[in-house]
C-alpha cells in the first residue's frame, strides 16, 4: 500500500504531574494516498488532537508522524486545514480570503506574471467549483454558514495541498446544507486527488464520507477499532437508508457508547417518573 501519512507510536500528554491528561496513547495508523479517512469517538478521545498533530499545530510528546516518509515538523503548506468556524478573515473579500496563501508567497518570492496568472486562474476555478462566483466580492459575514465553509475549503485547496485536514467542518451547519457539503467534498476529493483526514462527531457523516471509519476511545485517547466502509465508491444520499449502512451505523454507535463509559440511567429516570406521579 502506498502510504501518504504514517503515524507511529504517537503519544501526547497535556499538562504536568498528577493533573496531566493522556490525549493520545500508542496511536499507530497508516493512511493511503488519496484515501478519505474519518475519525469518530466520544469527547476527549483525542481525535481533534491527533488531527492537530498531523497539521503541525500541536507536537507529539513521543512517537512520530511521517508524510511521504519524512517526519513532520510544524505546520506546512502540504497539509491544509479546515476548521469548524471563525477561521476566515472578515476584513477580506471572498476572493482575497481564497488568495491569502498567494499573498504570503508573493511577499517572499519573485513571481513571474505567468505564476500570478496561474494562481488567479486556480482561484477562479475554485470559486467556480465551490459555487462562489456570484459572491467573490462579498465579505464573509454577508454569507451563510454553509457558504463560509465553502470559502474556507476553497482557501485551503488553493496551494494544491496533498493532504486536507478537516476538524468538524460541517458541525455548525444545518442538516440540509450539510448533505450538500458532503457531496461537494466527495467530488473535490476525487477531482483534486487529495488525501482527506476528517474528524466528526456524526457517525452518519463519517460512514458516508469515509473509506475507513476510525473509532477512537477516551481516557487515554487511543484508536479503538477501524471499520472499512463497503459502500459503492459513487455515493448517493439514499444509501444512508440501506440496511448495510444502517447496520454499520448501529455497530459504530454501539462501540462509541461502550468506550465512552456514559449511558442513560433508565432506573433513575423510572424512579423519578414514579415520584412525579
Amino acid at each position: 500500500m502506498d502510504n501518504k501519512i504514517s503515524i507511529k507510536a504517537a503519544h501526547k500528554t497535556f499538562g504536568e504531574g498528577e493533573r496531566s491528561i493522556v490525549a493520545l496513547q500508542a496511536v499507530d495508523l497508516d493512511i493511503a494516498r488519496n484515501e478519505f479517512v474519518t475519525f469518530v469517538g466520544a469527547s476527549g478521545c483525542g481525535k481533534s488532537t491527533l488531527l492537530r498533530c498531523i497539521g503541525g499545530l500541536e507536537s507529539l510528546s513521543s512517537g512520530s508522524i511521517e508524510v511521504d516518509g519524512a517526519a513532520i515538523n510544524g505546520p506546512g503548506v502540504d497539509r491544509a486545514m479546515v476548521f469548524q468556524h471563525y477561521s476566515l478573515y472578515p476584513w477580506l473579500t471572498v476572493m482575497d480570503n481564497i488568495k491569502f496563501t498567494r499573498q504570503l508567497q508573493a511577499g517572499r518570492e519573485d513571481l513571474t506574471s505567468a505564476d500570478v496568472e496561474a494562481a488567479s486562474g486556480r482561484a477562479d476555478a475554485l470559486l467556480d467549483l465551490m459555487g462562489l462566483t456570484h459572491v467573490r466580492d462579498a465579505y464573509p459575514n454577508q454569507l451563510s454558514g454553509g457558504m463560509q465553509q465553502r470559502v474556507a475549503i476553497a482557501r485551503a485547496l488553493l496551494p494544491r495541498p496533498q493532504i486536507l485536514l478537516m476538524d468538524e467542518p460541517f458541525g455548525a451547519l444545518d442538516a440540509q446544507t450539510r448533505e450538500v457539503m458532503h457531496d461537494l467534498i466527495l467530488h473535490v476529493s476525487k477531482l483534486e486527488k487529495t488525501t482527506i483526514v476528517f474528524v466528526t462527531h456524526d457517525v452518519e457523516e463519517a460512514i458516508y464520507l469515509g473509506q475507513r471509519v476510525v473509532v477512537m476511545a477516551p481516557r487515554p485517547g487511543r484508536i479503538d477499532s477501524i471499520y472499512p466502509v463497503e459502500l459503492p465508491a459513487k455515493r448517493d444520499q439514499d444509501m444512508k437508508l440501506s440496511s448495510e449502512f444502517l447496520q454499520q451505523k448501529k455497530a459504530i454507535l454501539h462501540r462509541i457508547r461502550e468506550t465512552s463509559g456514559m449511558r442513560t440511567d433508565y432506573e433513575l429516570l423510572e424512579r423519578m417518573t414514579r415520584q412525579a406521579e
Binding site: G55, G56, L57, P75, G76, V77, R79, A80, M81, F83, Q84, H85, Y86, S87, L88, Y89, P90, W91, F100, T101, Q103, L104, Q105, G107, A138, Y139, N141, Q142, A152, R155, A156, P159, L165
Partner: protein, 272 residues
C-alpha cells in the same frame, strides 16, 4: 381594532426587550432626552429659585461664550487645550499600540510587562502631578506628561486585550497556510484587531480630556480647564458652565470623528 387600542399596541411594541426603533422614532427619543434637561435648566434659572450667581441660565451662558470669543480669545483656549490633548494622547498611542501588541502576542513580554503595568495603572495619575512639575517644570510638556501618564497604562492593557481577542483559529489557519511569525502579526493579528483598537483609542480619548482639565487646573495659564478655574475665582459661574459645555462638545465631535473613521475603514463590519 379601535384607534385607542392601536396606540396602546404600538406603544407597547417600543418596549420589547432589545427591540428595534425606526430611525425617526429613535431621533424623537434622542431629542426628547436632550431637550428635557435643557428645559429643566432653563426653567430653574428663570424661576428665581436659585441666585443667578450660582445658577446662570442658558441665555447667560451663551452671551458669556460670545464675550469670551470676542474679548478673551476663546479660540486660543480651545486650540491650546486641543493641542495638549492630542499631543499627550498621540504620544500615548504611539507607544501603547506596539507595546500592547507585543504583550498580547508574546507570552514572555506579557509576563514581563503586564503585572508592572497593572500595578502602575492603579496609581492615580493626579498624584504624579507634583512629581511631574518637579521633573518637567510647568511648561507645555508637563500638561502633555500628565495626559500621557493618565492614558498610557490603561491604553497598553486595553490594546493587549484587543490583540488577545483575535480568534485563535484565524491565527492557526494562517499557520497551516505557511505564514511565518512576522506575517501572522502583520497580515492577521493587526488587521483583525484594528477595529477594536480604534474603539480603544476612542474611549481613551475621553480620558485624555479628563486629565487635560486636571493638568490645567493645577499648572497652566491658558486653556479651557485653566479658564474654568479662573472663572471660579471671579465668580463667573456662566463661564464655568460655558467651559464645561465646550469641552463636552469638542469631546462629542472627536467621538463622532472616530465613529466615522470606523465606518470608513471597516466597511465589512457594516455590511449585512
Amino acid at each position: 381594532m379601535s384607534s385607542h387600542h392601536k396606540i396602546v399596541t404600538s406603544w407597547n411594541s417600543l418596549w420589547v426587550i432589545r427591540g428595534h426603533l425606526s430611525s425617526r422614532t429613535y431621533l424623537m427619543f434622542a431629542l426628547f432626552g436632550m431637550l428635557v434637561p435643557l428645559a429643566a435648566w432653563w426653567g430653574v434659572s428663570v424661576s428665581g429659585w436659585m441666585d443667578k450667581v450660582f445658577m446662570p441660565g442658558p441665555a447667560d451662558v451663551l452671551s458669556r461664550t460670545y464675550v469670551w470669543f470676542k474679548e478673551d480669545d476663546l479660540m486660543h483656549d480651545v486650540w491650546i487645550s486641543t493641542y495638549r490633548v492630542i499631543a499627550g494622547f498621540s504620544l500615548s498611542a504611539v507607544l501603547a499600540i506596539p507595546l500592547g501588541l507585543m504583550i498580547g502576542t508574546y507570552r514572555p513580554v506579557q509576563a514581563m510587562l503586564e503585572p508592572l503595568t497593572d500595578f502602575i495603572r492603579y496609581m492615580p495619575a493626579v498624584a504624579f502631578i507634583p512629581l511631574v512639575m518637579l521633573w518637567v517644570g510647568i511648561d507645555e510638556s508637563s500638561k502633555i506628561a500628565i495626559i500621557f501618564i493618565g492614558t498610557f497604562f490603561q491604553m497598553v492593557l486595553m490594546v493587549a486585550e484587543d490583540v488577545r481577542r483575535v480568534p485563535i483559529t484565524q491565527i492557526e489557519a494562517a499557520q497551516t497556510m505557511g505564514a511565518n511569525r512576522r506575517e501572522i502579526v502583520s497580515l492577521v493579528i493587526v488587521p483583525s484587531a484594528k477595529p477594536a483598537l480604534l474603539d480603544t483609542l476612542r474611549v481613551t480619548m475621553g480620558w485624555a480630556w479628563t486629565y487635560l482639565v486636571v493638568a490645567e487646573l493645577v499648572a497652566a495659564n491658558s486653556g479651557l480647564g485653566y479658564s474654568i478655574l479662573r472663572a471660579q475665582r471671579f465668580m463667573q459661574t456662566d463661564k464655568i458652565f460655558a467651559g464645561i459645555i465646550l469641552i463636552g462638545l469638542i469631546g462629542l465631535a472627536i467621538d463622532q470623528l472616530f465613529r466615522w473613521l470606523h465606518r470608513k475603514n471597516f466597511p465589512w463590519m457594516y455590511k449585512k
